[in-house]
Subunit: 249 residues, 2 copies
DNA sequence: CAGTGGTCTAGACCACAGC
DNA sequence: CTGTGGTCTAGACCACTGA
């Protein structure tokens, strides 16, 4: 049975709702400081823990971000637009800086922590690439000095050992151009997109505040014969990305 | 009191980490009950609020879900695979039950709360559809009895007024087949994908536990002349979906 | 019914930011 | 230095679940 009277939400929720409303109404803008714990305590006559609870709601929603010793602030967004299909067209392979360029459209970016290792294939990589040994290129991308994406590209060891794909610099056009040189040019791609809360490790590597989900994109690249030649697992700060896919009926 | 070493994580975080590790290690499986507040209090000799804080970490990560009066449980996932491009191919329009079928692949689904309204176009809809008045079809989809998606399709009023698109039942093949009948068959689609934490309203309508992001898909459909004929805004429970996009190089 | 999580109070000490 | 958020304690009453 439904209760005929919808009972009132708890105080902390009403406060959070009111603050959220004020943010949406533009009373607080991106980066503005919100009323802090002390302000809420005196304004509403509540205990400290209750004020914290109200702010925690907004923080866990990703609407606000706390800064220690300073205050709680309205969160700012400036998403990167990432084109799913256009960016992987063959024409792109010839350009100097590989695929990543077509994402940021002029904004400065950088690559951190590039590591290249040979590993035993595990789980999804073993299944999709259908092999036992893989080369893995892991790296982190930053835009405007902020880390936004972790990526791990897996290649069948049989295919790429000895090629520039296992070197720091893959040369003009990136790994897809090199796969083409090896006679395994990708002709088809599949991307699987999920969203979830980050693991603590991802959260640390991307410097994510609480309340920020990650978008997980798992891309498989297939050569002409239908064999998978790359599996790229990407973890993106959801607040920094808009994924765009174009296709025809 | 012990004096903690400066750079050691706080107790609640260590407890959360340990529980998360136990879950990943398989000591707790999907749906299993985790140690509750009282258990953690006595096991670690901590106050109630601290035990709650530890559990809150897992809950906000979407790893665990609290059940009032019962306990805290390991969260279960059963994602639906949604095909981005294949599902919108022309062949699908002829089938009886519109596009939704190609998602669930056999699992029972239902549509709730279908409302059809004529409204003044606002924001994104006005811009993309380039019109002042729109018809909006809002509905909620459920799979296995659980709501998983909210959708709001916007159509230019000039185009669809008087057509079955403004009726409860759009007939075989759904709205895209009707747009074709009207001479505005969609030939191109763009989908924008974002992820974020839900608003309280979305959270309520989808029955989301804390720590569950939503995936926001905004699809524009374009007719032959390049004019947008539909803008469909979808909000999906991120724990229930995997989006798949296929495309060629 | 006893046990659970949900809310709330009134304190405390700490690390850190910014003046 | 003061004010901020971060952590923690020791209580309390409530609504709900499940035996």
């Amino acid at each position: 049975m439904e209760s005929p009277v919808p009972h009132e939400p708890p105080i902390y929720r009403r406060i959070a709702d009111r603050l959220r409303q004020a943010i949406l109404a533009g009373e607080f803008r991106d980066g503005d400081r919100l009323p802090g714990e002390n302000a809420l305590m005196s304004e509403y006559g509540i205990a400290r823990a209750t004020a914290r609870q109200a702010l925690a709601v907004l923080i866990n929603e990703g609407v606000a971000v706390p800064r220690r010793g300073s205050g709680v602030y309205v969160r700012q967004f400036r998403p990167i637009r990432r084109h799913g299909s256009r960016r992987l067209s063959r024409e792109q392979w010839g350009t100097g800086r590989a695929i990543w360029d077509s994402d940021t459209t002029g904004r400065p970016y950088s690559v951190d922590d590039l590591t290249i290792t040979r590993e035993a294939a595990a789980g999804e990589a073993a299944r999709v690439l259908d092999c036992d040994e893989v080369w893995v290129r892991r790296r982190r991308y930053s835009v405007d000095g902020r880390p936004v994406q972790l990526a791990a590209s897996h290649f069948p060891a049989d295919l790429v050992t000895g090629s520039p794909i296992t070197a720091q610099d893959t040369g003009p056009g990136g790994v897809y151009a090199r796969l083409r040189d090896l006679g395994h040019a990708p002709v088809h791609f599949t991307e699987e997109v999920r969203a979830r809360m980050p693991t603590p490790e991802e959260s640390a590597k991307l410097g994510l505040p609480a309340g920020t989900p990650v978008i997980e994109v798992c891309r498989s690249a297939f050569a002409g014969g239908g064999a998978a030649v790359e599996l790229n697992k990407m973890i993106m700060d959801a607040a920094s990305y808009v994924l765009q896919y174009d296709f025809d009926a």
